[in-house]
């Protein structure tokens, strides 16, 4: 025991180990790993973004203009996989790594070495996935949902896709196990569950979702693998299987997955809005219960992705009603955020602007979601741009905006410098305007019948597609400004105080800025 005490004591004074590789490759420090996760997420955000630019460039005008249709399909498929598994999920995990220990008063994550391993599996998984772009037959092109029998016609990329999904799944499961173990065991004395910041709550629930459904996805893709190479017939009708069963198993994973991509966002805005409204969060416990209810409901609504497969009436009704129920706890949350802002003395710094835009634009995505939940009309909306508009409103102006809000909010704590507020506001307004120019017209395109995942379209869709593409290019370019602002903030700027924001509450704001390499080695006392 003495030796251990001594070692830790040393670390505390000497900070991170010297040497680039020793520091970053072998690090078990939650702050280092948080940074690595977030940088990886940022990198993949640009890789996936470049693919989106190819998609929008091809759709700028009708006709087949720039790329081969097969390559276009590779872009839509890979854009989704990269953004979900490489962009949003690692970014959220990075935020969790950095913030959860300092928010609950723990010295580090519960399993630091597992943490390192979980992170370094990510680049490995993405090498497998992105390598498929250079293979004969190309990258996966049958949609990120990997429906058989189409996905089985993939060629050389097929096993790479399957093993990439396995590795990314293992990585996120390990990360989540670590988060649960940290939250349940490492809280400072006095930090009861119902005193935890909502970001911690949201991640606790998200981590349970990940551990529950990622293995189901792993099972589904394993069945694809054995169908292809080992003569099983899980999804092969000729052998007595059923391709529709894949959709059931996939969406049993897939629907909780979309909440995995949004629940941490709820936690982030629940931290930011009270800070800049200078009021405590309205309805803390209802927020916790609402998040848990959404997580529970996510397991019983998967059928709404499959209304068109020929589901019997009873199934359609069940999934329709269950899906519409999701709007209730979500409505509670939106209401609570508005009530928090009500009569607050608000200021509009960049994180707050992104959070308010999140509430507004996520609600638009939520409402189009209620429309899609209606089985009779879904038959018309299914596989159209209306769906594309819907899930980009909840994922870009939802998940991605919340990540940007979080970066601006906590960046002074991470770097010790304030970011350039003027540039931050430019980034916000350019992003918010362009993202609406990008995705709002897609509602109209979808309602008018433009199918998704098609590189060409009928002439009557030309204007809205051109508008959408212009919005897309502006949104894409604007994100370079985001990177510039981050680099500028890391390099210097006005010194940040330990509280950073006037109305900031929580343990992380009691630490100096930048937060030292090791924090809360002696647990703080939470009253």
């Amino acid at each position: 025991m003495t030796a251990t005490t001594h070692d830790t004591h040393d670390d505390h004074h000497h900070g991170p180990p010297a040497g680039f590789f020793k520091r970053w490759l072998f690090t078990t420090n939650h702050k280092d790993l948080g940074v690595l996760y977030m940088l990886f997420g940022l990198l993949m955000f640009f890789v996936g973004g470049a693919m989106a630019m190819v998609i929008r460039a091809e759709l700028f005008q009708p006709g087949l203009n720039l790329v081969d249709p097969h390559f276009f399909n590779q872009m839509t498929t890979m854009h989704a996989l990269v953004m979900i598994f490489g962009g949003v999920m690692p970014a959220f995990t990075g935020l969790a790594n950095w913030l959860i220990p300092v928010q609950i008063g723990a010295p580090d994550m519960a399993l630091p070495r597992v943490n390192n391993w979980a992170f370094w599996l990510l680049p490995a998984g993405f090498v497998l996935l992105l390598a498929t772009l250079f293979m004969p037959g190309g990258a996966p092109a049958g949609g990120w949902t990997m429906y058989p029998p189409l996905v089985l016609q993939l060629g050389d990329a097929f096993p790479f896709l399957i093993f990439a999904v396995h590795i990314l799944g293992i990585s996120s499961i390990m990360g989540s196990i670590n988060i649960v173990a940290t939250i349940l065991n490492m809280r400072a004395p006095g930090m009861t569950l119902m005193k935890m910041p909502l970001f911690v709550w949201a991640w606790l629930i998200t981590a349970f979702l990940i551990v529950a459904v990622m293995p189901v996805l792993a099972g589904a893709v394993t069945m694809l693998l054995t169908d292809q190479y080992f003569g099983t017939s899980f999804f092969n009708a000729a052998g007595g299987g059923d391709p529709v069963m894949f959709q059931h198993i996939f969406w049993f994973f897939g629907h909780p997955e979309v909440y995995i991509l949004i629940l941490p966002a709820f936690g982030i805005v629940s931290a930011i809005i009270p800070t800049f409204a200078r009021k405590p969060l309205f309805g803390y416990s209802s927020m916790v219960y609402a998040t848990a209810s959404i997580a529970f409901l996510s397991f019983i609504v998967w059928g709404h992705h499959m209304f068109t497969v020929g589901m019997p009436l009873a199934g359609q009704l069940f999934f329709m009603y269950a899906t519409m129920l999701v709007a209730v706890p979500t409505g509670v949350k939106i209401f609570n955020w508005m009530a928090t802002m009500w009569q607050g003395s608000m200021t509009f710094e960049t994180p707050m602007l992104f959070s308010i835009a999140f509430v507004l634009l996520f609600t638009i995505g939520g409402l189009s979601g209620v429309m899609l939940a209606l089985a009779p009309v879904d038959l018309q909306y299914h596989d159209t741009y209306f769906v594309v508009a819907h899930f980009h409103y909840v994922l870009v102006t939802g998940a991605v905006f919340s990540i940007m809000a979080a970066v601006y909010f906590w960046l002074p704590k991470w770097t010790g410098h304030m970011y350039d507020e003027k540039l931050g506001k430019w980034h916000f307004w350019l992003s918010t305007i362009s993202v609406n120019v990008l995705f709002f017209p897609q509602h109209f395109l979808g309602l008018a019948g433009m199918p998704r995942r098609i590189p060409d379209y009928a002439l009557q869709f030309a204007e809205f597609n051109m508008i959408s593409s212009i919005g897309g290019f502006v949104f894409g370019l604007t994100q370079l400004l985001f990177v510039y602002i981050i680099i500028k903030c890391v390099r210097g700027g006005q010194k940040a105080t330990s509280e950073v924001w006037e109305g900031a509450r929580g343990l992380e704001w009691t630490l100096p800025s930048p937060a030292p390499y090791h924090t809360f080695e002696t647990p703080p006392v939470v009253k």
């Binding site: 005490t5 940290t182 009708a237 007595g240």
Partner: protein, 202 residues
């Protein structure tokens, strides 16, 4: 590191073990969904579940001899294999409770012999359980010699328990060519065609 932190680490490991067990269990659950799905569809008749086993003939039960249900026949070839497959008659009027025979014609359009498996499906889904086959070419693999054409019978009856509101039942067969195992092997030529110059150019 305090005694307290040591304890936290240990209980952290226990929580992690429980969570890892949960992950493993859910991996198993994914596979358990396969038989569960089969059983669920069998019991409820969802998804147009159709038994691919011979059932006994119509039971000696009362049925309405005046009731008429239209049965439509559909035949499809899976993929682009060189087959011709069609029903001899595209529809017939039947009385639930009575036994009928319909014929399907399949032609292997290649000179080589081959094997096919034909899979039935019934629409609407609620009729699947009530469509009973006493004899069918779909129960076993069908071997065809080169360029062979064959008429194949299916003997069936509709259970009088079929819902009154159902007046049309569609019996659809899909023919799978399974000579190379269950699924066609990955076709390199086709893939190259895909990856080649834009097809739009021509």
């Amino acid at each position: 590191m305090s005694e307290n932190t040591q304890n936290q680490r240990r209980s952290g490991g226990r929580t992690a073990a429980k969570m890892a067990f949960m992950a493993l269990a859910m991996f198993g659950f994914g596979f358990a969904m396969v038989p569960a799905y089969q059983v669920f569809c069998e019991v409820t008749g969802f998804n147009g579940f159709v038994s691919n086993e011979a059932s006994a003939g119509p039971a000696d039960q009362a049925y309405d001899p005046d009731r008429k249900v239209t049965v439509e026949f559909v035949a499809t070839v899976n993929g682009s294999q060189p087959w011709s497959f069609r029903p001899k008659k595209s529809r017939m009027e039947v009385t639930p409770g009575e036994l009928y025979t319909a014929y399907f014609v399949a032609e292997n359009q290649e000179a080589e012999s081959t094997v096919s498996q034909i899979i039935p499906s019934v629409a609407p889904g609620s009729a699947g359980r009530h469509f009973k086959k006493t004899e069918c070419f779909c129960f076993t693999e069908q071997r065809f010699s080169g360029s062979e054409t064959r008429e194949m019978p299916v003997t069936f009856f509709i259970d009088p328990a079929l819902a009154e509101r159902t007046t049309t039942v569609t019996l659809s067969y899909t023919l799978f060519d399974i000579r190379d195992g269950d699924l066609p092997e990955y076709d390199e030529e086709a893939a190259e065609l895909h990856a080649g110059a834009p097809q739009s150019a021509d």
